[in-house]
């Protein structure tokens, strides 16, 4: 497999550690790593040879024009890609050094460790707010030794929603606003204590106010977990991420053009195509 590229940004982990790993904080594992990931839909080659290392405790933004394969890529990271009947892939995705596509892997356990927040808020409408947050525990039949109420409060607090809903945990989730629903979905992902959180354009369906609150939440969460966020919004990438990866499909399959620390990517990108995109000349 053509994965071992010498230009792989191996130093990212070190940077992240320096920034985030304060003494006494929980071990974050060794992060998530994609090696030479390709993706197909039927005969359509959607993504070609993406290798990217998400160091533990970092926020990585995936940017690029529509159809560049960034959403496809993020869905290969927790094996949601395979729900499309014609889908196929190649390459490896390593979580703590183990290939999540290895034969005999329990995919449900992988998804417990790599949570996902979707474009459109999707709380379970038949459940109350509280039940939604704890839905993951119930679905995965995890017997948490922790007090349910404490866990509920913690998850909602981390998602920045506790103050708004603490008096109506028994109400149905459908009554919340779009932004609140999305934060509820984040809280729901947090309850199963994932190491990595994937966010697929989490703010694209929300108003600017809600967007800011979610970004705030992301900054808070990044202290304790690895976050990968797909976004169309370059300002958002600049605000929340440590690293940015630029994807582009130039007529052929989507590729990753360039990855680097976010401020460098936006101030002095190495590739001309990145420069054109971040300066708004196309896309």
């Amino acid at each position: 497999m053509s994965t071992d590229n010498s230009s792989q940004p191996n130093s990212l982990a070190g940077v992240a550690a320096a920034r985030h790993r304060e003494p006494g904080s929980a071990p974050l594992g060794s992060g998530l790593e994609a090696r030479g990931v390709h993706a197909w839909f039927g005969s359509h080659h959607a993504l070609e040879g993406v290798s990217l290392d998400f160091a533990a405790g970092t926020v990585t933004a995936l940017i690029g024009p529509s159809g560049c394969g960034k959403s496809t890529f993020i869905r290969t990271l927790n094996r949601m890609h395979e729900f499309i009947p014609s889908a196929a892939m190649a390459g490896e995705v390593l979580l703590d050094g183990k290939d999540i596509y290895a034969p005999g892997t329990d995919v449900t356990k992988i998804r417990l460790q790599i949570g996902m927040v979707f474009q459109k808020p999707n709380p379970f409408p038949s459940m109350t707010i509280g039940e939604n947050v704890l839905a993951g525990l119930k679905l995965a039949q995890i017997k948490s030794d922790r007090n349910k109420d404490e866990l509920l409060e913690e998850c909602l607090t981390r998602a920045g929603l506790w103050q708004e809903v603490k008096d109506r945990l028994g109400a149905h989730a459908g009554g919340l606003s779009g932004g609140q629903q999305q934060r509820l979905c984040i809280a729901r992902s947090l309850a199963v204590n994932p190491k990595v959180l994937l966010m697929d354009e989490p703010c694209s369906a929300l108003d600017p106010g809600s967007t800011l609150r979610i970004e705030d939440t992301i900054s808070q969460l990044s202290k304790t977990m690895t976050i990968v966020i797909v976004t169309h919004n370059m300002q958002q990438a600049a605000r929340v991420s440590d690293y940015t990866a630029f994807f582009l499909a130039d007529g052929g399959p989507g590729q990753m053009v360039e990855v680097g620390p976010t401020n460098e990517m936006f101030s002095r990108p190495k590739d001309e195509r990145t420069e054109n995109y971040v300066s708004g000349r196309f896309g």
Binding site: N5, L52, A88, G104, D106
Partner: protein, 355 residues
């Protein structure tokens, strides 16, 4: 920190690592084979006997072994998931076993009595206890065709106009009419029969005839045709209608020359489905058809025969030969219904063209 584009010199092939591999499937099939053997052994040495025991034990062993495999490999949750899958599969198997049995018995038992004579003779010189080489279903086939034609002639205009009302005028009463059409589709066939009897036969000098039975069948046919016609008319794009109106055509002309022709194949499907719905109906005929053991070409007077009625009489006769006749009759009826069904499918897929 440079670009990480992968060089193109190596070909990468698409893979589906989530699909079960041969190595995954071998234990699954091995476990099923062991379950089958064990099933056979247990039935042989214990007092549990019969197909029911085989089926039940195979489920217990089969599902049990799959659960155990999953449990060992992935844990309790996967085992529960496996059990749920086994239960769903078993449910589907239980649902489809009767279909196989129905078709198998009909073909095996029905084919015995089929001969050319069965199709060209009537029952005027034979009765239900006669050998199947004597007497046949020709009068029943003619009767059924008559019933289909007349019931269609009665129900098609009503159904089509109602469907057009629902799709073209969309008047205030649309919701209500829709509700009534649906309510009509729930009328038991026996009620349609006794209604015609009570309205037209009970206190008059009229007797059961083709037209009376066709009226009862038309009642059952209308809702099916209306609902299917409505669905296909809705598929006609709105811009076709607007194009007609923009050319200065009246709504009537637009509907008659553009909308209905555009939906033609779909409307044919609607009629065929309606015919399939009534071709095998028996209950209404018992009150409205009268009796005839030979071809009656007059639909307005005198009794008539029909395939379902022929089967009914054979079953009612109760003798071995009578039941044999019933099976042969039902095979002919089933062939008629299934060909209608297949034709509707073919037209049904063609209706996509109008999109």
């Amino acid at each position: 920190m440079t670009t990480t584009t992968i060089p193109h010199h190596e070909t990468v092939y698409p893979k589906r690592p989530w699909k079960a591999t041969k190595a995954d499937l071998i234990p699954v099939f091995a476990a099923l084979a062991v379950a089958a053997l064990l099933d056979y052994a247990v039935v042989a040495i214990t007092p549990m006997k019969g197909k029911l025991a085989y089926a039940l034990l195979f489920f217990v062993f089969g599902a049990g072994f799959q659960m155990a495999l999953k449990w060992k490999k992935l844990g309790r949750r996967a085992a529960v998931d496996s059990l749920a899958g086994s239960v769903a599969i078993s449910g589907a198997v239980i649902a489809f076993v009767p279909v196989l049995s129905l078709l198998e018995t009909t073909i095996v038992k029905g084919a015995k009595g089929l001969s050319l004579g069965f199709f060209i003779h009537d029952m005027s010189v034979a009765n239900y206890q006669s050998p199947l080489s004597e007497g046949g279903v020709v009068q029943a086939i003619v009767g059924t065709l008559y019933l289909i034609l007349i019931a269609t002639a009665i129900s098609l205009p009503l159904s089509l106009l109602t469907a057009l009302y629902l799709t073209e005028i969309k008047g205030k009463a649309s919701g209500f009419i829709q509700f009534l059409v649906q309510a009509m589709s729930g009328i038991p066939s026996v009620v349609a029969g006794i209604f015609i009897y009570s309205a037209l036969l009970l206190t008059t000098s009229l007797r059961g005839s083709t037209i009376m039975a066709a009226l009862a069948l038309a009642i059952l046919m209308i809702p099916t045709v209306t609902r299917t016609a409505q669905e296909v008319l809705l598929l006609v794009p709105a811009d076709l209608r607007e194009a007609g109106l923009a050319l200065g055509a009246t709504q009537w002309k637009t509907v008659a020359t553009i909308v209905v022709p555009a939906a033609r194949n779909g409307l044919i499907t609607a009629v065929i489905l309606g015919v399939a719905r009534i071709a095998g109906e028996t209950a209404p005929l018992l009150f409205t058809l009268g009796v005839s053991n030979k071809i009656n070409w007059n639909p307005f007077s005198g009794g008539q025969s029909a395939l379902p009625y022929y089967v009914w009489s054979g079953l009612g006769d109760g003798t071995e030969l009578g039941i044999d006749r019933a099976w042969s009759g039902i095979l002919v009826l089933l062939i008629v219904v299934l060909s209608l069904f297949a034709t509707a499918r073919i037209f049904g897929t063609r209706k996509v063209k109008i999109k």
